[in-house]
Symmetry: C2
C-alpha cells in the first residue's frame, strides 16, 4: 500500500472493484533486479500485467520483454521496445503466429519439442532458439505442471534438430515455479543446463544463453527473500556449474516485477452465517475467482487483506466472490481472519494484486464487468 | 453436432477458436422442459449463455429469466422479457443493485440471510422473496459448495424477518448441483421445502413458490436422463411431500437449455512428448481453461472431443491449452483418448459447449482474445 495508491483511492469515483498499480513500485522493482543480477538482462513477462503504462515504463528503463502471443509482441513494440528486445517465450505457437512474429522482427523463440522446432524453422528461418527443460518446481506456491519443457536428456536432440534445419541453437531455459521462495531452487536446473551446454559443445553446437525464467516472488502474507538474495544464490549456482565460462543470462520476472505494485479495492456485499449455531461467517466481496482473483484457485495464492477496522478483534471467515457459481469461493479450507466488526458496504484492500489479475478476469461472467485497472 | 453447425463451420473464415450455438437445439430443449414439467414455469439461467439471440428466442417462446446481476436483468429486458418474468436469483447483491432492479420493475428476489433481507426491504419495498436453502449436491458433476443457501432450519426465520420488514414471504429455493444426473436428487430438498412451508404456515405466512433450481444436465461423454425422467421424478417428489396442495413451481435450467446447443471448433497447436521414453503424448489446443473451458477445472466437466480422424487407433493424451500458465491443463489425471494419427493443424470439435464457456473466458490472458461466439 503506497501513499500514491491511498491518495488515488481517496479521490476516485466509486464504480465497483478496481486494481490500482503504482509505477513507482515497478521502477523500484526493476532497479532491484538490475542491481541484484547486474550481468543478466531482464525480460519482463508481459502476461503478468500488460498495461501499456507498465510496458512503457519498463521499455524506457531498458527492460526486454518475454511474450506469450503475437498480441503481446505488438504491445511490447507499441510500448517502445525494439524487436531484438523481445522473446517469443511460449513453447506452444501456431506456425502463422511464428511467421507474424518473424515479420515483426522477433528472432528469439522458445521450443521444447522437435515438432515446434520444425514450425520455427519454416516460419522464422535462421532464428535463435532456446530449449525449455522440465524442472520440478519444489518450493513454488503456484502449481508448476509438466506442461512446459522436455526432459533435460532430450534438449540436445531438440536443439540439434533446429541446427540441422538452419536455426541457431542458442541456449536453454527453465522455470523454477512461480512465487518461488527458495533462493536455491535454480541450482538443480543450472546443473542440468550446464550438462546440456557440454553435450551440445561435444556435438559442435556451442550454446550461449541460459534463460533463468521467472519465479521471483511478490510479498503476500509471508515475507519473501529480497532480490539480492536471489541474485547471490543464482550467481553462486552459475559459478558452481559453469566455472569461469559464465553464459549469457536472462531472467523473466512477472509477479516479482508488478505483483507488489498493485492493490485491489473491493466492497463487502454480504456477511452471513449458514445457520444459527454455525459460528463460521461467510464474507462475500464484489470480486472473486472470476473477476480477477483466479490465482486463489485451490487457495494457492493468499493475498493480504486489509480493512478499515484492522486492530479490532478478528475471527476466521470464508471469503467468496459475488457470482452465482459455487466454485467462486476463495478461501474456505483455510479461512481468513477478518474483524468481527466488519460490515456490509465496508471497503477491503487486497494487497499485492498487480500481477495475474486484470487479464485473468472473465469477460462478463454473470454479467459482471472485468476488473477495472488504473495505473498511476 | 447439428447439420447447421457443420454447415456454418464449413463456410466460416478461420480466425481462431469459436463456439457455434444452434438456436434450433435451444428451442427443442425449451419445448422438452415445458412438456416434462407442464405446470412449472421455466426461468432460464442467463449466466449459462447470455447471447442476445439465445435470450431473444427464449423470450419469444415464453421463458422467464433467472438473473445474477443488473447487467443480466437489462439483457433479459432487451430481449423482450417483461420485468414480471425476471427473478434476481443471486443471493449476494449490493443494495444499489437491488434498488436498480426494483426501478427496472423486478419484484422477485432470492435471499439466504437476514442481512440480505434487510437490503431487499430497504431497496425493493414490498417485493417477493424466496429463501434459498442448502442442499448436499450429491450426484452432481460441477462442485456445489456451501456458498449459497442457509440451513433449512433457518429459512422460516429469514422469511419471517422479511415479512416483518414489509416484504412478501413467497417461497423456498434450492439447487441440487449442476449437471445433476440423479433424477431423484430433488426429493430430499423438497422434503425440507415442505417442512418450511408448514412452519411458515404455522407462523401465519402461507408460502406459494418452490423454486426447483437448475441442475438439469447436458449430455457430455455419458448419457443423461431425458427431461421427461426429471419431470416425472420431480412430480412424484412434489406429490409425496406436498400431497394435494402442490405449490407453484419454477425451474432454472441453464446448462440443460444451452449446453448441448453449442460446439467449439479449436485447432491442434502442438503435439509432443516430454522425453523419448515417455509414451504419453501432450496435445495442445488453441483454447484452454482461460479461453472458455474453465469448467475443466479439477477435470470436473469432461467434454466429448471429435476429430477428423475418429475411427483411427487411439491413445491416451494429456490435453492442454495455449497459454503460458502451468495450470492451463485440461485433462491430465484422466487423459483423453485421441487418434494416434492426430496432427498439428488439425481441427478438433469440442461438443456440448454452449453453456458456461463464452462468459467464463478471460478478457485477454496472455494476449489471447476471448472466445468468439456465433449464434445461428
Amino acid at each position: 500500500m503506497t501513499d500514491r495508491i491511498r491518495e488515488f483511492l481517496r479521490n476516485r469515483r466509486e464504480d465497483g472493484p478496481c486494481v490500482v498499480v503504482d509505477l513507482d513500485v515497478v521502477r523500484a522493482n526493476y532497479a532491484a533486479f538490475a542491481r541484484a543480477l547486474p550481468d543478466t538482462r531482464v525480460f519482463y513477462a508481459v502476461k503478468a500485467n500488460p498495461a501499456p503504462e507498465v510496458l512503457g515504463v519498463l521499455a524506457e528503463l531498458g527492460s526486454c520483454f518475454d511474450t506469450a502471443s503475437v498480441a503481446e509482441i505488438e504491445m511490447a513494440l507499441a510500448a517502445g521496445a525494439t524487436p531484438d528486445r523481445i522473446s517469443f517465450g511460449n513453447t506452444i505457437k501456431k506456425e502463422r503466429d511464428i511467421a507474424r512474429a518473424f515479420e515483426l522482427g522477433v528472432r528469439l523463440f522458445a521450443v521444447d519439442a522437435k515438432a515446434e522446432v520444425e514450425k520455427v524453422a519454416r516460419a522464422a528461418p535462421g532464428a535463435r532458439i532456446f530449449c525449455r527443460i522440465l524442472c520440478d518446481g519444489a518450493g513454488a506456491e503456484w502449481p508448476l505442471s509438466r506442461k512446459f519443457g522436455c526432459d533435460p536428456d532430450m534438449a540436445a536432440d531438440v536443439l540439434e534438430h533446429g541446427h540441422r534445419l538452419g536455426l541457431a541453437a542458442y541456449g536453454v531455459s527453465f522455470h523454477v515455479g512461480s512465487q518461488q521462495k527458495n533462493v536455491e531452487a535454480w541450482d538443480g536446473a543450472l546443473a542440468s543446463a550446464a550438462a546440456i551446454f557440454e553435450e551440445c559443445a561435444l556435438r559442435g553446437l556451442p550454446l550461449s544463453l541460459v534463460n533463468l525464467g521467472g519465479g521471483f516472488p511478490a510479498k503476500y502474507l509471508q515475507d519473501v527473500p529480497a532480490a539480492e538474495a536471489y541474485g547471490e544464490a543464482i550467481f553462486r549456482a552459475l559459478s558452481r556449474h559453469f566455472g569461469n565460462h559464465l553464459p549469457e543470462t536472462i531472467i523473466e520476472p512477472g509477479r516479482g516485477m508488478v505483483g507488489a505494485a498493485g492493490m485491489i479495492e473491493a466492497e463487502v456485499v454480504l456477511i452471513s452465517t449458514k445457520s444459527d449455531d454455525d459460528a463460521m461467517r461467510w464474507v462475500y466481496l464484489d470480486i472473486g475467482k472470476f473477476g480477477g482473483l483466479a490465482e486463489t484457485m485451490d487457495e494457492a495464492i493468499r493475498y493480504p487483506i486489509r480493512t478499515e477496522r484492522d486492530g479490532d478483534a478478528v475471527e476466521p471467515c470464508v471469503l467468496a466472490g459475488p457470482t452465482c457459481d459455487s466454485a467462486d469461493v476463495m478461501y474456505e479450507k483455510d479461512p481468513v481472519l477478518l474483524p468481527v466488526s466488519l460490515a456490509i458496504g465496508d471497503k477491503v484492500l487486497i494487497e499485492a494484486t498487480g500481477a495475474y489479475t486484470t487479464t485473468y478476469s472473465a469477460v462478463a461472467f454473470n454479467g459482471f464487468d472485468p476488473l477495472r485497472s488504473y495505473v498511476i
